[in-house]
């Protein structure tokens, strides 16, 4: 193993464990993450295998296969982030609305008391 492999391997392991811990509520995403990270680690240790898989799939070079996989991974990550953002927006909206309504209720009650 070269120095790049020695540096990247622990990073990938830590990242996998981190993501695995964060995705407790989404088991199917956990499996996808595990597969992608596992594949990444295998290709990191045995780079020539990526070429063999690429040849098998008719892609050609191993590096092309990795680029395609990276693009797929990136697209998946974007979709997941988008969904998460929409969910957070909904929660924020509910919270802001609740707060705004509470404020006007208090204000109206105060005005009513002052008006007698």
């Amino acid at each position: 193993m070269n120095i790049f492999q020695w540096i990247m391997l622990p990073i990938l392991v830590v990242l996998t464990l981190f993501l695995f811990g964060r995705l407790k509520k989404q088991p199917w995403i956990r499996v996808i993450v595990l597969l992608i990270m596992g594949l990444g680690m295998v290709f990191l240790i045995q780079p020539e295998w990526s070429t063999e898989v690429a040849n098998f799939l008719g892609i050609g070079r191993g590096v092309d296969l990795l680029i395609y996989l990276s693009m797929l991974g990136l697209t998946l990550a974007c979709i997941l982030l988008y969904v998460r953002t929409v969910e957070l927006d909904k929660k924020l909206e509910a919270l802001v609305r609740q707060d705004a309504l509470k404020e006007i209720r208090e204000e109206e009650a105060k005005n009513n008391r002052e008006d007698g």
């Binding site: 929409v86 802001v96 309504l101």
Partner: protein
């Protein structure tokens, strides 16, 4: 003696409309209805203007979008037992006189929701700039495909709802797509509706704040993605 205001509420969603808000609210105050501004996280002095003019004001601490502001206003109106509500834009493009026309149709039972349309009379139609007319025609077609309702106008912010519609409609679309979502809900919740001619004033200010072609793409994205998520 000052005549007491009716239990009909004009909901005015406003985001950074300080330049024109005072004028709009002063003209609305001539009507016998209650006025509720939903300040959607404005950075300007919109809230101060509301207090100076003396209208009810709800404030979102952060900007959420026009649809969210309208829903907050409707939640409040529902809570206090409003009989009818009117959605009225804060940018000065709507006429106060048109409110009575919308409410008259509601009171006559012509529909649970009365929608304003700028394409029902030749005079009103003539006022719409060419580019906007084209955009609105495309929006009408898209609106029909998404809701099944074939209307003469699209995304007209002036509309009136009776109590039944006020309680039934729950806007999920926080942005501009709420205008199409209202139609979807009219269809889904089997509410009746009618269109009434209204006049839109196209000032430089209101045109600059109106929906552009790029906003239209955003509306489309919201409708398709969020519609998909709801099903």
């Amino acid at each position: 003696m000052k005549k007491p205001k009716q239990n009909i509420w004009i909901i005015v969603p406003a985001f950074n409309e300080g330049r024109v808000l005072a004028g709009v609210l002063q003209s609305l105050q001539k009507s016998p209805y209650q006025i509720l501004v939903v300040d959607d996280g404005s950075d300007d002095d919109s809230r101060k203007i509301c207090h100076q003019v003396g209208v009810h004001c709800i404030r979102h601490k952060v900007n959420l979008g026009q649809g969210a502001a309208l829903q907050t206003g409707m939640d409040f109106c529902q809570e206090i037992g409003a009989e009818m509500v009117v959605h009225f834009d804060a940018d000065g493009q709507h006429r106060v006189e048109d409110i009575d026309r919308l409410l008259a149709q509601l009171q006559l039972g012509k529909g649970d929701v009365i929608l304003g349309s700028r394409f029902l009379t030749k005079e009103d139609k003539r006022e719409v700039p060419f580019q906007r007319r084209m955009l609105l025609q495309m929006a009408r077609i898209l609106q029909f495909l998404l809701t099944g309702l074939w209307l003469s106008d699209a995304h007209n912010g002036l509309r009136a709802l009776n109590r039944k519609a006020l309680c039934a409609i729950k806007l999920e679309q926080s942005g501009r797509a709420h205008a199409t979502e209202i139609l979807q809900q009219i269809k889904e919740k089997e509410l009746s509706y009618a269109e009434v001619p209204v006049h839109i004033t196209y000032s430089h200010y209101s045109t600059s704040k109106g929906t552009s072609i790029w906003d239209a793409f955003q509306v489309l994205e919201d409708l398709l993605v969020k519609r998909k998520r709801q099903t």
